[in-house]
Symmetry: C2
Subunit: 396 residues, 2 copies
């Protein structure tokens, strides 16, 4: 296991003089600190002993009910028993690996894909099948050929993918569910950003579409769903969840128990208390407004300051967009130059299964964390750096 | 992985009419709820954004400093860099497995040993070398023979072991360190109960003795130490730590990051805030007083109500003692009968590497959780049951 580039970069970019578009940090000024404080007081006053005691590995009942209710809004009947609380979606990935993956298994992924998944599953020496993506998400013709090879799992971030910001279209989601049914495949649907949509129409999750396709209200399906409160409430509480078919759920609970017994009772009860009476829904509305404005500001600034040789696509939601410099520019090498320009991004290479050869010229920008004035200034600095490096290539 | 007996039993024993000596639950009425409430308010008021944001995989600085200071009290210079925060010691066990164990590796353990370790490391199909114990802890002559076979790790709970309550003597600890040096062995020292001593003299940890033996103030040693706030503060926060030599620490941090990024920033800051200004030390004093009284009460009640055929040893600390029925009594079978008598314990079989054949007649009793009146009544019920089953064995 190599220490993740993201975490190391985060340390560097904590210098106050650097404008950082690295990391995947939510905007700290939007954390509902007062609400959390009131909730902590109420939970500890009314249920102090319970909040500080050991709890069930499955998680706190009220929180599982809350998640089941929110996941049922699309028309699928999700119940408490379908939900396992985990310490952030990253732990969900770890547990799924423990339960389903063996050494040398095949895994189908978008390329680029989520770096934290690559890191968590590195010990399994997986055989990666990479699926190319366009603006509607992954190429299903390629995926069909891959499914004939019988990979153990497919891992996808269907909404506003990290790092590309791409969303899998409704049409392709339906076609994907049919493919899963045909090949008896299992997909891990990692959906941290699904509620953070700023433009375009909401698209049902694979989890919902699978349940609808199978025609049951509860189902033994093809989708393991990962959710988290990190992006819609606060990552510091480390509370996420897995929704999975019963046969897999049983094994996930065992793996959770062996891993850390259970997620903090206190933070689970806190999240349930903060969320209640519609607060979380209102809070998500507020996040959407602010992040949409920041996305638009960043896109405008890129239009203004970036050289014409750099390309990017507009994401409909989430926290990230990916930009493509000309192929002769190594954005990993350029990272040090960027720091001299007092600006930071995440080099794209580590998101690609093929590493530098595949994505050395790409870079990921986060638009949720920096305040508006910083976004404009930071993109200006980055633009200046990109103009320099492109001007210095005499053969192009 | 089989779902842990303890967790399943805990569910059954939550029925209010049952007096439970199962589980390893601290006394909930001793949780410092008011102090935690004040600390939550202060942390969120003064550092709200930090407490709710992502943090470093190593853990929160102030908490690592606090732990380093507490671990240095024995004279060894422990620093922040020696400490990794984990989500309870159970996660420490999981991470150590990820970093050091491979399929089929050898592991030397006390027999019986901690069930949660057996569960966490089950996927590695370990070859277990069991070391018998007497009232001074494990038999070092047997361990020396085992070390010649080159097991990957030794796993020990040297203080008030779960489930037996046995403590490894000072003399044997020193001899063990010499053995580790001779064979270049690594021991995992799991020490959840070390501060909960009610009688006898404090004995330095293996971690301290190893550092002193090597003659260095900081060291590249033979001991990986696991600590937790679960038993001295509250398990619901899920905060523990690993202290390890630098070469192993680097890999543990990577494994922690891949597992769940980091432990909740909020609960880490909360623990540091609760502990400060000597509060935690005072609180541990209070726990010692209460738990000592409960231990003594349970021992007296056992003396009064248990048949003479049942044996047990007095533990000098911790939360547990183990009792031995005659070998013809299967305490796993008897568990259902105990529930009819409205009392619960943990059958000992699952703590033994050899299972029922080795420990079917044993049972573990927890004396920290139940209130005094319940302890007397519960042991009385258990005694009645044991008298019945022993009287019904005509051949004995």
């Amino acid at each position: 296991m190599a220490r993740s580039t993201i975490r190391e970069i985060l340390k560097l970019t904590q210098r106050p003089d650097i404008i950082s578009f690295a990391g995947g940090l939510p905007a700290p000024e939007l954390f509902p600190v007062e609400r959390v404080k009131e909730a902590a007081d109420r939970v500890l006053t009314e249920h102090g002993a319970e909040a500080l005691q050991y709890g069930a590995s499955e998680g706190v009942r009220d929180l599982r009910d809350l998640i089941a209710e929110r996941m049922s809004r699309g028309g699928v009947n999700v119940t408490r028993d379908d939900i396992l609380i985990v310490s952030g979606a990253q732990q969900g990935i770890d547990l799924i690996g423990k339960v389903l993956l063996e050494d040398g298994d095949g895994l189908a992924v978008e390329d680029p894909t989520y770096m934290g998944m690559l890191q968590a599953w590195r010990p399994y020496n997986l055989c990666y099948y990479t699926v190319p993506t366009d603006h509607d998400g992954l190429d299903l013709d390629v995926l069909r050929r891959i499914l004939r090879e019988n990979p153990k799992l497919i891992y996808l971030v269907p909404n506003f993918q990290n790092p590309q910001g791409v969303t899998l279209s409704a049409e392709r989601r339906r076609a994907l569910i049919e493919l899963l049914d045909e090949f008896d495949g299992i997909v891990v649907e990692d959906n941290p950003y699904g509620e953070l949509r700023y433009s375009g129409e909401h698209i049902p999750s694979l989890y919902e579409l699978d349940a609808q396709y199978s025609g049951k209200t509860t189902f033994d399906g093809h989708v393991i769903y990962l959710g988290t409160f990190s992006k819609i409430l606060a990552p510091g509480v480390r509370v996420g969840w897995i929704a999975a078919p019963p046969a897999i759920m049983e094994r996930l609970v065992q793996a959770k128990q062996a891993s850390d017994l259970h997620t903090s009772t206190l933070t689970q009860m806190l999240v349930a208390e903060v969320a209640r009476d519609g607060f979380l829904d209102e809070h998500v509305e507020c996040l959407r407004d602010v992040y949409e404005a920041r996305r638009d500001l960043m896109l405008e600034a890129m239009e203004t300051y970036f050289p014409k040789e750099v390309r990017w696509a507009k994401p409909d939601g989430g926290l990230f967009l990916m930009a493509y410099a000309p192929e002769y520019v190594d954005m990993t090498d350029m990272f040090k130059v960027a720091l001299e320009h007092k600006v930071a991004y995440v080099p794209g290479a580590d998101f690609f299964v093929g590493g530098t050869a595949a994505g050395g010229h790409t870079f990921r920008l986060n638009f949720s964390n920096a305040r508006p004035a910083m976004i404009d200034e930071g993109i200006k600095r980055l633009g200046a750096m990109l103009h320099e490096v492109i001007a210095f290539q005499p053969t192009h």
